[in-house]
């Protein structure tokens, strides 16, 4: 009789899924903005040492130049079992550092070069000899700002 049908008791209306794409898109945009694509594959073991008196280093900052060192990973045993350097995507010798630094400088604008920071991603089991070689090469090229990348200690 009436224009409005009376709802049957106890029946819940179907939840609308129309907002689902919106929610998913929101999440999608969040992850798209925070994503940093991995641009280098590591050929060396890279367990960073622990330290707590540390400063943040912005990854998307193009003032940062990375140098990796550690034992070669599986499949690269031909480079030995001692810690080696990795520059860009290649295993390198300390004598290649000079050329590497020059090429990194050439990639960047002239005015930011004095502010460039070298981030050392060195495995905790590496010895200081290799690190000293890196430091000496950096000093000779006048790249004096250095950052020993480390992780917060998990305990405490």
């Amino acid at each position: 009789m009436g224009k409005f049908k009376k709802k049957k008791d106890g029946e819940l209306p179907q939840a609308s899924t129309a907002a689902l794409p919106d929610i998913v898109f929101m999440l999608l945009f969040f992850f798209m903005t925070v994503t940093v694509m991995k641009d280098k594959s590591l050929l060396v073991e890279n367990k960073l040492p622990a330290a707590d008196d540390i400063e943040k280093l912005n990854r998307k900052n193009d003032r940062v130049m990375y140098i990796y060192a550690g034992k070669p990973v599986k499949g690269y045993e031909k480079y030995g079992t001692e810690a080696v350097l990795q520059l860009n995507d290649k295993i390198a010798h300390p004598s290649d550092l000079k050329q590497f630094i020059h090429s990194e400088i050439a990639l960047r604008d002239q005015e930011i070069i004095p502010f460039m920071v070298t981030a050392l991603k060195v495995d905790r089991d590496a010895n200081m000899g290799l690190v000293s070689d890196i430091k000496l090469a950096l000093r000779k090229e006048n790249m004096l700002k250095i950052n020993y990348l480390s992780v917060k200690p998990s305990k405490r």
Partner: protein, 210 residues
């Protein structure tokens, strides 16, 4: 002629496409950030200075690490956990005067005449061997840096009130998201003042090979 109505595009699969993209970005995302200990290397000199500045032994705090990662501080064997305290005591001693002949009026140290004169004169000398492990080296650098940070924090709280520690102010100053110029100028002045009160002087000798 009657208009033919175009059929509506089904948007039901939009969620699926969005999910697919979402999962791709979820998998490729690396959230961790790079953190590290900042240090400045000494400039390279082709011919080392023949004129050596004479530094009195009492103003040098020597830390030597051998190839077994054992540490010798001021010629005595020391554990890593005691290093920070020892370094702080040395820097904060304030037994004499600085280059301008002023006494350290903010030091809380024991004013021992046999230890450092002034924080601006106190030098920490770190020596390591080529066989020393990198983790031990970083741990020691961390403790030495933390000694300076702790002293700067103490002075920052005394001068600018609780909560305004050196660490907090430095984080805000370095944060690229903070755009407030006047705040940054103020923080820079404060940080520079604290850095001047306790300048970080860590001298590293070339590592010896055996």
């Amino acid at each position: 002629m009657g208009k033919r109505s175009t059929p509506e595009v089904d948007s039901g699969s939009m969620a699926d496409i969005a999910f697919l993209l979402l999962i791709f970005f979820l998998v490729t995302t690396t959230m961790e950030q790079d953190n590290g200990i900042m240090r400045k290397l000494p400039a390279w000199e082709e011919i080392p200075d023949t004129e050596r500045v004479v530094i009195r032994q009492k103003n040098i705090f020597t830390v030597v690490v051998n190839k077994n990662d054992q540490m010798l501080v001021e010629d005595e064997l020391m554990e890593l956990k005691d290093l920070r305290k020892a370094a702080m005591n040395f820097i904060d001693n304030g037994g004499g005067v600085n280059a301008e002949g002023k006494k350290c009026d903010y030091c809380n140290g024991s004013k021992d005449p046999a230890s450092s004169d002034h924080p601006s004169k106190a030098i920490i000398s770190l020596k390591n061997e080529r066989e020393t492990s990198y983790s031990a080296y970083v741990a020691i650098q961390n403790e030495l840096g933390a000694a300076y940070t702790e002293l700067r924090n103490r002075e920052a709280v005394r001068l600018y009130g609780a909560g305004n520690t050196y660490t907090v102010m430095n984080t805000i100053f370095k944060d690229p998201k903070v755009k407030d110029i006047s705040l940054k100028v103020k923080l820079e002045q404060r940080l520079n003042k604290l850095k001047k009160m306790y300048p970080q002087i860590i001298s590293e000798a070339e590592s010896k090979s055996n």
